[in-house]
């Protein structure tokens, strides 16, 4: 997966242009403080067979990704939300794995963007 697929830099550029670098940094920090705890909610929800909770968590993460331009993760969370809504249990583990990989990739890119914005 390419960097541009992981992170749509236009989103961060828009935040920076409209509200300044500090605001863009705050949004990155907010992403890091809210998304990992949400990712950790998937397994307990799946173990309980609570697809509604999986759908809610995926929706939350999708919104967080949209705000920051985490494009691949946003796409994976949208598909996970849909799969959970439709009760497609077989598709969910693969989508979860895809989402965790997308998070690992975008985390590196966002940390670099944060470093550039801070300098």
């Amino acid at each position: 997966m390419g960097d541009a697929e992981c992170l749509n830099k236009a989103a961060l550029e828009s935040l920076q242009k409209m509200a300044g670098a500090k605001f863009a940094i705050r949004m990155i920090d907010l992403f890091f403080s809210t998304v990992p705890p949400k990712l950790a909610e998937f397994q307990p929800a799946l173990s309980a067979g609570d697809y509604h909770q999986v759908q809610d968590v995926a929706h939350f993460i999708k919104s967080s990704c949209r705000n920051i331009g985490a494009a691949a993760m946003q796409d994976a969370s949208a598909r996970l939300e849909q799969a959970a809504r439709e009760g497609k249990a077989d598709a969910i583990p693969g989508l979860l794995q895809e989402m965790e990989q997308a998070y690992a990739a975008v985390k590196v890119l966002l940390e670099e963007e944060r470093r550039i914005l801070s300098s």
Partner: protein
Amino acid sequence: MNGNMTSRAVEVLLVEDNPGDVRLTQEALRESKVRNRLRVAMDGIEALAYLRRQGVHANAARPDLILLDLNLPGMDGRQVLQEIKTDPSLRRIPVVVMTTSAAEEDIIKAYDLHVNCYVTKPMDFAQFMQVVKSIEEFWLEIVKLPSE
């Protein structure tokens, strides 16, 4: 400009569970021409408690405008909208649904529940700012609202 809003800050209640979306809305309203005070409810239960001045919200100000997300934990936005629009003491408060959903069924359901308008959140922050500004201009400056 709304005559009844010239001397005090306009009260806006945002019902939204995602802190990122809350932060973006705060930033967009911070740029507003109209002096406003934004209150945030993170879920539907808290929103209704705020509107009905229950518990810690006993002294809550009545909102002039409600910005409502549809996907909320627990009681979702559709239920919150139904509660507001069937409550004689709340139903005149304008409710703007702001959501990522462009699903026709969500749009129809929201209007069936008497939402005042339905807006899909844009992807781009510049567009998001423009949308919030347009909502603010229309609902807080152009239209005439009842005082209660």
